[in-house]
Amino acid sequence: MTQEPRGGQNLVGDTVLELVDVTKQYPGNPPVRAVDRVSLHVSEGELLAIVGPSGSGKSTLMNLIGTLDRPDAGRLSIEGVDTASMSDAALAGLRARRIGFVFQQFHLMENLSAVANVATGLLYQGTLGKVRRKRATETCRRVGLGHRLHHTAAQLSGGERQRVAIARAIVSDPAIVLADEPTGNLDSRTSNEIVALLRQLNDEGSTILVITHDRDLAASFPRRIALNDGLVADDDSRPLLDSGADRS
């Protein structure tokens, strides 16, 4: 355990997320095992990618990690707390405070401003409106949206919209940020900017888990977990060479 700020390649923090033989299957004949005995350990300050082709179960895995769905078997704990015993309302509280989500399709409220959208990240913590706006404004500046604070979501470009979504995910200072195909709807230049932003936030201490089908994108992250047919095919935790990291 170290007290100094942890960058993406210093994997020495507390355990944030732990999966042990987590399984999720969907009814059918035969039943489909979308996630099959996945075990995973993520420490504070990590930046990792779960990569796999379409249908490999990575979205299901993200929903399980994000507690939007419950595993059929296995154990999933966040910051050492087993989620199996938690009620639906308790899981909602966990999401409100310890998990940040970034979705491929942004999920912004179109008629709200960038700041108001980011502030919704604190809505279900019961934070005062004034405090929400102040922290949202700071977070918007942190992700490079200082000049677009009061534009509505509808007035923003794709890259800016994803920055708003990322700001909303980190405004509550969660234990882990889950980003599902964060560059899926963006052109390559904007994608690179978003990846750079994620790396910057990770350098500043955020634990970020990115889910993607894009192997090139995954290759730019320090740790890559390959998922295939619901099974972990590879967990490559070796630090990357600088040249690899610079590809993003």
Partner: protein
């Protein structure tokens, strides 16, 4: 590693003001739809408040009228014998009535078996009666003359006539210019006065009144009083009413019918009340239909906003938060309708009452109840959609839909 228990401070919380704001945000984003949906509720509330307001104003006017006319006017009639024949009063009856102490004035009326015509060339049926009356009838009725004057001691002995308001209208007389005359049983009578309408005595409105001496003198009529009108001291009306039959006809008190003309007006107010309840019921039906409209729109809204619901669940909303957001949204929607409806209903009442010349009486509790009913209906209508929204699987709701 050691597993820990969930931390207490990880609870999901939504401030009440933020819950209301969340409910309102759904309406702000869909202004046109919000307005159209609110119209349904507005119509229901407007019709209920309009009906209540108009009937209250009408009733207030009627009560004021009754108060003004007084409830101490009584009418005694012969009634019917046990064989069903019309009974007339004894000639001494008016004098006996006047002897009852709390009776302040009384006047006998005798219906004559003849009719009144505008001139000698017509004999059309006009439904008008000819009454031989005593000269103090005008005081007993507390009536007013629109034109001319009433019969007095002199004119009651001459071929002169005073017309009720309806009678004058049917005979084509609006005033007394040119000294108009009418024909009664082939004799010419000079019209010396036209009465104002008498709300308590519509029978007299439809009659031509001549003096009793004139009736005997010029029409050879036999005078049998058919009715006696009397005023009693207000505190003793019921007592007078009780002794009247025996006073008028000691032998057969059951053949005497005593009525209070103001009761008819009060009955009219009660009839209005029944009609009002019916119309309020119709307004309630409109309100229910409006509520169903809201429920419909809210269900569509839940389907459209899966993404938003999923996002809110991801942001930490509990099922209760989601449900309360939709119930509040629905209640707000209905409250907007209710407010609109209350204003519309008040305007309708104001306009109608003003046109009718009524005093405006818009019960405040009707306004409050209207908006309250809208809120309750809205919340009820939102319940089912809210439960559906709360039950959405969050993992499914955040999934991109193609």
């Amino acid at each position: 590693m050691m597993l820990r228990r969930p931390r207490r401070q990880w609870r999901s919380r939504l401030r009440p003001i933020d819950a209301v704001a969340s409910g309102a945000s759904g309406l702000r984003g869909r202004k046109g739809r919000t307005l159209l949906t609110a119209v349904g509720i507005a119509i229901g509330i407007a019709s209920m408040i309009g009906v209540l307001g108009i009937s209250a104003s009408s009733k207030a006017d009627l009560i004021a009228e009754i108060d003004q006319l007084g409830t101490n006017l009584l009418q005694v009639q012969g009634g019917t014998t046990i064989f069903g024949e019309g009974a007339s009063l004894q000639e001494e009856a008016p004098a006996m009535v006047r002897r009852i102490t709390p009776v302040t004035s009384a006047a006998a009326i005798s219906k004559l078996d003849t009719d009144v015509q505008r001139n000698e060339f017509t004999d059309e049926r006009n439904g008008l009666d000819v009454l031989a009356v005593e000269i103090h009838l005008i005081d007993t009725l507390e009536g007013q003359l629109a034109h001319g004057r009433f019969l007095d001691r002199a004119t009651s002995q001459l071929p002169t006539v005073v017309l009720g308001s309806v009678a004058a209208d049917r005979l084509g007389l609006t005033d007394l210019t040119g000294g108009p005359t009418v024909q009664i049983a082939g004799r010419t009578f000079a019209v010396i006065g036209i009465l104002d309408p008498l709300p308590l005595n519509p029978d007299i409105d439809r009659s031509a009144l001549i003096g009793t001496p004139a009736a005997i003198e010029f029409l050879d009529a036999e005078i049998h009083p058919t009715a006696i009108l009397l005023r009693a001291e207000p505190d003793h009306v019921e007592a007078v009413r009780a002794v009247l039959p025996r006073t008028v006809n000691p032998a057969d008190p059951n053949e005497v019918a005593v009525s209070r003309p103001s009761d008819a007006l009060e009955a009219r107010a009660r009839v209005d009340e029944n009609l009002r309840n019916l119309l309020v019921g119709l307004g309630a039906v409109a309100l229910v239909v409006g509520g169903v409209g809201i429920a419909n729109v809210m269900i569509i809204s839940v389907l459209e906003r899966r993404g938003e619901i999923g996002l809110r669940r991801a942001l930490g909303a509990t099922r209760t938060h989601i449900a309360s957001q939709f119930v509040l949204e629905s209640a707000l929607l209905a409250a907007i309708g209710g407010l609109f409806g209350a204003v519309m209903g008040a305007m309708v009442t104001y306009g109608y009452a003003t046109r009718q010349g009524w005093r405006i009486d818009l019960p405040a509790e009707a306004l409050g109840a209207g908006i309250g009913a809208a809120l309750v209906f809205g919340a009820l209508a939102g319940l089912y959609p809210a439960v559906r929204a709360a039950r959405l699987d969050p993992a499914d709701a955040v999934r991109p839909r193609g």
